[in-house]
């Protein structure tokens, strides 16, 4: 079982779109896949037409495997399950800080799902806090969407510094360009510069596309309703690239 986190300190960079479509691509490729919506806003869950569970339970997430399993919902697609977000997730930090081994709780509970899934994708909230550190400890790959702008570049560097200062393995960070606009000169320049500076960038680039924006109306992964469009297929190529990277890391 592998765990991928779709993560960025910055919001609105395409984390959820990536999580949802990569999870879909993974299930279609035959993997038992679980998408965990860690963001209390519940956008991933929304895209899969799953409402947040009504009861606002507290600490089950990090402690009780059975209760965690009970909250998992099948999606409209075979082999793709969702653990929907819950408003209580906003209190993850408080919950975690009161626990011992507070930075490894997520890793522990996820590893108990080893027999159930081939791939777990974490759709993370935009933050850098105790939950993020749990994510860094748990994930085999931290996939970072980067909009090719100066500001995003800065946030990406902040993340690298954080990893450096806190002794996390930088090699698990795999950035990719997200919401890139081919006609935008600044985007073009930033991509060229950053690819040179950080060869670790994934080759697949997710472009800005109205089709992707319409996911909120369709309420399904864009790969499910517009899979033939070039911009959309980039998610599938990104998934294949991820598979190769994970296989090499083995």
């Amino acid at each position: 079982m592998k765990i991928i986190a779709s993560y960025s300190i910055k919001g609105g960079v395409g984390k959820t779109a990536a999580s949802v479509n990569l999870a879909y691509a993974s299930a279609k490729a035959g993997n038992e896949t679980l998408l965990i919506d860690l963001d209390p806003q519940g956008a991933s869950s929304f895209y899969f037409r799953i409402g947040a569970s009504k009861k606002e339970s507290r600490s089950y997430f990090f402690t009780k495997k059975n209760r965690l399993l009970k909250n998992i919902r099948g999606s409209n697609y075979k082999r793709l399950d969702i653990l929907p977000a819950n408003l209580s997730f906003r209190n993850f930090d408080i919950m975690l800080s009161s626990m011992n081994k507070s930075k490894k709780r997520l890793k522990e509970i996820l590893s108990s799902l080893e027999d159930e899934y081939d791939l777990i994708i974490l759709d993370c909230p935009p933050n850098i806090n105790l939950l993020s550190e749990n994510v860094f400890n748990a994930a085999d790959m931290v996939l970072v969407p980067v909009i090719p702008t100066t500001l995003s570049e800065r946030t990406y560097e902040q993340l690298l510094n954080f990893f450096q200062n806190n002794n996390y393995k930088k090699k698990i960070i795999h950035p990719f360009f997200s919401m890139a606009q081919s006609k935008n000169k600044l985007h073009h320049q930033t991509i060229t510069d950053m690819e040179q500076r950080y060869p670790v960038f994934m080759k697949s680039i997710i472009s800005f596309s109205p089709e992707i924006e319409r996911m909120g109306i369709h309420r399904e992964p864009v790969l499910a309703y517009a899979s033939k469009k070039n911009h959309v297929q980039a998610y599938r190529t990104l998934f294949n690239e991820i598979v190769n990277v994970l296989a090499k890391d083995k």
């Binding site: 038992e32 899969f48 009970k70 919902r73 409209n76």
Partner: protein, 532 residues
Amino acid sequence: MKTSQINQAHYLLPDNLTKKLFLDTLKSSFSLKQVENTTENFSVLDNFEWRLYQKKLMAIRHKDQSISLWNESDLFDDELALKIGDITSQSKFWWDFPDSPAKKTLKPILNLRALHPVYNGVLKIEEFNLQNENGKTLVFCQLISICDTERPRIPIMRQIRISSVTGYIKEYNLADKLLLGLNAFEPTLPPLDSLLGAIGVSPQIYTVKPELNIPANMPARAAVSSIISTMIEKQRLTEHGIIKDIDTEFLHHYRVAIRMVRAAIAQLKEVFPPQDITVLKQRFGNLAKETNYLRDIDVFILDKARYMNFLPESMRNDLLPMFDDFEKNRQTEAKRISRWIGSRVYRKEIEELQLLFSNGYSAVETAWSEKPTIELAVNKIQKTYKKIYKAALKINNSTPDDEIHDIRIDCKKLRYLLYFFGSEFKKKKLKIVLNHLKSLQDKLGIFNDLTVQGEFLKNYLIQLEHKPKKDIMLIASLGGLISTLYTMQIQERDKCIKELAVFSNDDNQQLFSNTFIVSSRGLPKAHKRAKK
């Protein structure tokens, strides 16, 4: 989730349930989203022996000629099908298929047999997701309908499968309840039997080996008639496949069946009047002889890859002209045999022969004709075994090949006797005897094949002499092949001699005399009473 209990139910829909009522009932509680709807002409495939069916597998050929293969538990689940694409309607043997898991599965099952259609019809697959008002799928649902090609709108079978979605078990139970309310019913048979039954296909398992249960006290002639009659039936079942040239196994089994008939006539001749024996031998002999050449070429062509590998790589292609010749000859010969078996003359002959035995052969009584079968069986089995072990004792390194071949023929006779009368003896001991015999026959068989193949090649070489244009490389590679076969033949001969020594040792002699006996214990009750 891998280990979650995905609930699944299969039902057959009653004939009188209309599609409208079916859909309306589901719509009363769910929104229906159709995600798949395909209709196509298709064929269910199997080989003549129903080996796929026996392995609980089903293969279908789609309209585009591709093949899907399922375990019976996954029937029609597109995602779980093993698929074979990139093939034509002519691709019917495992070696015609591109490398794939499906090919790997089929290879040992099909062996030399062709996959051929056992049913043609129209297949309609509809998949509905049962959803809530938000468009969230709560239950997966698949409806399979099969119709006759001639009446493609009227289903002769409708099967529904519902599967639960993780976290929505209540909704699954509701769908289940709705279906049961429509009198959907669980098939009583396993999925494959249920499907084949519904479309009116009944598998006839075929094996050329007879399973005879001849009572020990049955009069010998009646028993031998029944053996011969069974074998002629088996022979006749292969005729259709030879006429259509479906695969080479039909002819092979045709010949095996005739060989057993001829063995029964020759070995158990005492039950028939001597003048009849000559005629019967000749009539069945003619049937066998007619097919000799086609079988010889079949064997050669089937072994093409093996022969090529006997030669150094650089010479392998030089053999190809010979195989081209064989292929051409095969085509002509197979057509001739197909015409012959389809002819009125053949049918008249085989029907006459069949009639002679189907109700017991009628002729004047002979010394053996009315004796209990067991006495005939024991006498013949013991005599044949004695003949083999006496000959085996004399074998040494200078024994001519012909004598080894004679032993091989006697072993075959013994094997057939055991097939015919095996049920009259103790199962456990018989199994040991058969295992010994099989091991010996395998070695003798290889030895014989090498000799026959060497001869066949020599004859081909002689024919080449008359050709105006001499292909030197072909002649050279044939020479290489013949000498390789000869070296192998010598090695096999040694193995045969060693195996024969085992077969004729004291232990085995003891085993034979203990196993094949006429004891009052070995006889059924009725016979014991008669003896008293």
